[in-house]
Subunit: 395 residues, 2 copies
Amino acid sequence: MSRIPRIVILGAGYGGVVTAIRLQKHLNYNEADVTLVNKHDYHYITTHLHMPAAGTVSPETARIDISKLIDEFKIDFVKSTVAQIRPQDKKVIMEDSTLSYDYLVVGLGGEPETFGIPGLKEHSLNIRSLNSVRYIREHIEFQFAKYKQEPHRTDYLTFVVGGAGFTGIEFLGELVNRLPKLCKEFDVDPTLVKIINVEAAPTALPGFDPELVEYATDLLTSKGVIFKLATPIKECREDGVILANGEVIKAGTVIWTGGIRGNRLLEDAGFETTRGRVIVDSHLRTKEYENVYVLGDCSIVLNEQGKPYPTTAQISIQQAEICSHNLIATIRNTPLKTFSFTNKGMVASLGRGDAIGVVGKHKVKGFTAAMMKRAIDVRYLYMIGGIPLVIKKGF
Amino acid sequence: MSRIPRIVILGAGYGGVVTAIRLQKHLNYNEADVTLVNKHDYHYITTHLHMPAAGTVSPETARIDISKLIDEFKIDFVKSTVAQIRPQDKKVIMEDSTLSYDYLVVGLGGEPETFGIPGLKEHSLNIRSLNSVRYIREHIEFQFAKYKQEPHRTDYLTFVVGGAGFTGIEFLGELVNRLPKLCKEFDVDPTLVKIINVEAAPTALPGFDPELVEYATDLLTSKGVIFKLATPIKECREDGVILANGEVIKAGTVIWTGGIRGNRLLEDAGFETTRGRVIVDSHLRTKEYENVYVLGDCSIVLNEQGKPYPTTAQISIQQAEICSHNLIATIRNTPLKTFSFTNKGMVASLGRGDAIGVVGKHKVKGFTAAMMKRAIDVRYLYMIGGIPLVIKKGF
């Protein structure tokens, strides 16, 4: 153990970045060594990724360089990919180096959950990083170029979105705006384009207010989305999907937004996990190791009824606030705080200028909701980067 | 035969469009029925296609709607694809209709000539239409997206251009400007990108002034192009090319610019052809049928030494001028004109702001040559569409 305690934060997503920023702000000089480890030298705003994926905005709008967020005099940044966590040795093995820690914060994010549906892992695309959304954007454009070379292949113009959760609905909202533009650019008859949403649950946005869900599905339907609810995917192939009802949809593109699981590194490290997620205690620590905190998609926080909260940016940020407090409290030997989630509301974007949401007890939709979405975005940018970042991102 | 003679023009490339415009201008009312047939409802500036192929400009800059070029009160336009020419019946069979003619002008353009190199037809891309260049642009961008998903596949970042003729060199000039931008956009280390030109002939731009050729290859080399001259391609595969010297180049992209042949429809129609091209008489007519004129890539015009002129935009336009004159002369029973090619010079673009060329007896290079290239472009736009078209295309 070094003279001063060493905190290692894995992952610069919502949880990791906010934890790092809080530590940077509240730790005194020489109170702890903090190291942030991330695969890329940038943080991305995951809740924005559906937009560059559809190609409606540049991926750059979702990216923030980590050097703009942390003060490298106070926090070390290591750009590397984590290969293994060894909590028994208090070590993290990275692809090219090793780090020892006294306290570990795991905010490595999730992975797509395919629920064992054959072919889904191999043949579907996922909205989950800057690289993946650039890939999706290029893939979609490429379908139009390919169709123009092989005009009998109208299946190139069929886009299947699996999952009608938050990401699926927000992505559809962008897609209905983007595809008509691609039709124009590539001289493609818009009536040939099909956007099909396939969802196993009987409703879109399960758990959301039914009136708002209807508003969203009506709006997307009016813009051409075909919803197939209560319809599980049986198999995904290179050329499309087969549904549980036997229907075959030939499609050049299948985007899977149907589920997120935790991170395999936590399973491999020997933590007790459910789908790669660790049930943390009320202080956000693992039950195996008091010095290991887990946040965001890697964690499960149970509500008062003992059910897990859905993992969102909002809960990750709130976790990071408690996590950073508890790290400092542990070092200073002051009382820890207990985590409890405060639902500040949820807004789902439905494309430019439209959204639905619940904020407090209020239901909002349309332009008002879209403005609230923007306000939430601004709030986050302000929280992590202050006014300069808000201005830089064009709000 | 209708009361007034019927002229059918197949193809709205340089030859077909200029012929149509000349006939529109010089024919008197009711002197002839003129029908222009083209697969698309637009003409494209073939000599510009290397730019949208590399993605440096939008394909729209190379496109001109036919309705902007011809007066539909004077000339009928039929958007269709020609399936068969039956000169013995004076008929053209299209995919969905049939046209009878008294005089036929064939300006259907060429097809890539692969010289029997195995796999080249299947696995290489060709710069030859708006659809094909949009495809190439998307394909190139897609390679970057794919590489970011599979970082060990550096072969996705290798671009092989087969052929160092006019199109090959001009395309390389754009590519060296475009790829660094894509590197930036996709966070790709530029040193991983390889641009390789493979040419069977011992020199680039065969027949061009050696000093200028050296200028061009030096410039492109300094921007990263690797030239492999005197190196035929032995085979093209899905994952790259095998050279005659045994070298294997793994590449996600192979663009073939190494040759153009004439059109299979002329072979099928029973004309005597060499690689799909018809040797026309001094009036540009086929030797089999006096009422059939052939222009551009479908035709061979022999020079005084009995050697064929290279087919270029320039020669096609000059042919169209003689062809339209001779059609009118035939109808009016006045003397025909004999075709002779006047070489007004050639300028090859090397990317933005640079070019090489020979104009009259003068060699030009660098910015001057680039300006000359622009002047040639303006001249053509003015010729077919007057001042409004020049303004519309932003010159």
